[in-house]
Symmetry: C2
Subunit: 198 residues, 2 copies
């Protein structure tokens, strides 16, 4: 059985992005540069956590993480990552609009799933085998999987900023018992990994 | 000038208590025992953080942290802590209802402040001198002081539970830049202290 993980940079008040995300502002408005400053300014300190984001065997992401567009597909949009995305494996994109598989350079293939979280998880788990499925984001997507009881481990990279509004991790998620399985402080962030207790 | 601090146990989703707080359930409903389990099961590991909660030179707390009552005072209520509260110093209680000072054993005196956050801070800072004023709680109270720009350092003791609803730390607080000044993992909790950047 595949291990299902998710990892997010969050503000101290629990947001993964500010309000008003757009093509120009993928993290929305407000002091959102703090969410990723640790990645850009201190990559050596945080290599393990950054690597973990792109070393799974299969990925699931929401439509909004793949594309700034909504509604019918603009087929010229091939993701935010250029011709060689960092995933190097299958990525299942949740959407209400069908689209053919999109193979990219370096082994990444985007698969577009219209059957909801269960179909996405079923296909990703089959692709991952005994490996790892990572719910890549965004917050609304991981919240669906958390609410459905489909996440095994969750890493919060807690960053030193209060955003006040935006995309809230855990919105709509019912009470869950967690187990803190690791916690590590770096200079600009604290990484805590929880196991979801069932 | 006094240093103004606040320290809270919070759930992974940012609540300091569940919904429906009452005399019988001071932390409200839900799996709220996780918020304080580290204090009861691993006190030796967390002595510094627990001591910090009761070693300030003056304290401010909300009416609801002092008393389960609302409206006019029941003068027989002398706090949750028995005749010798752990504060051993002046405690300024925010309220809309006047009440005479209430000296207790061991040096704690409860002062009831009807002039709002500024009056409470002014009196607590005067009492603390060059020492420390701690905003003891609850969340609604510290949120008022955070929103007013009156907090210097904030410690979050992040506990392994998702509550889903309740008293939310940072509710109504506008965007703030923070600096992570310490972060420490214990087995059941992670303590992060932030400085508020002005």
């Amino acid at each position: 059985m595949a291990l299902v993980t998710a990892g997010f940079a969050v503000s101290a008040d629990g947001f993964t992005a500010g309000p008003g995300q757009s093509l120009d502002k993928p993290f929305g408005a407000g002091p959102v540069s703090e969410l990723t400053r640790w990645m850009f300014q201190t990559p050596d300190e945080n290599k393990a956590e950054m690597d973990a984001l792109v070393q799974a065997d299969a990925y699931i992401m929401g439509r909004n993480m793949f594309s700034p567009g909504r509604g019918e597909w603009d087929l010229s949009w091939r993701g935010w990552w250029g011709e060689e995305p960092p995933y190097h494996g299958p990525v299942f994109v949740l959407t209400h609009h069908e689209r053919d598989d999109l193979p990219m350079d370096g082994g990444t293939t985007f698969h577009f799933v219209t059957g909801g979280v269960e179909e996405a998880m079923s296909r990703a788990a089959e692709a991952a085998g005994d490996g790892r499925v990572d719910i890549a984001g965004g917050a609304a997507t991981v919240n669906q999987f958390l609410a459905a009881g489909l996440v095994d481990e969750l890493t919060l990279s807690i960053t030193p900023v209060v955003l006040g509004e935006g995309e809230r991790l855990f919105a709509g998620v019912p009470p869950l018992k967690l187990e803190q399985i690791s916690s590590r402080a770096a200079s600009l962030v604290t990484h805590i990994t929880y196991r979801v207790v069932r």
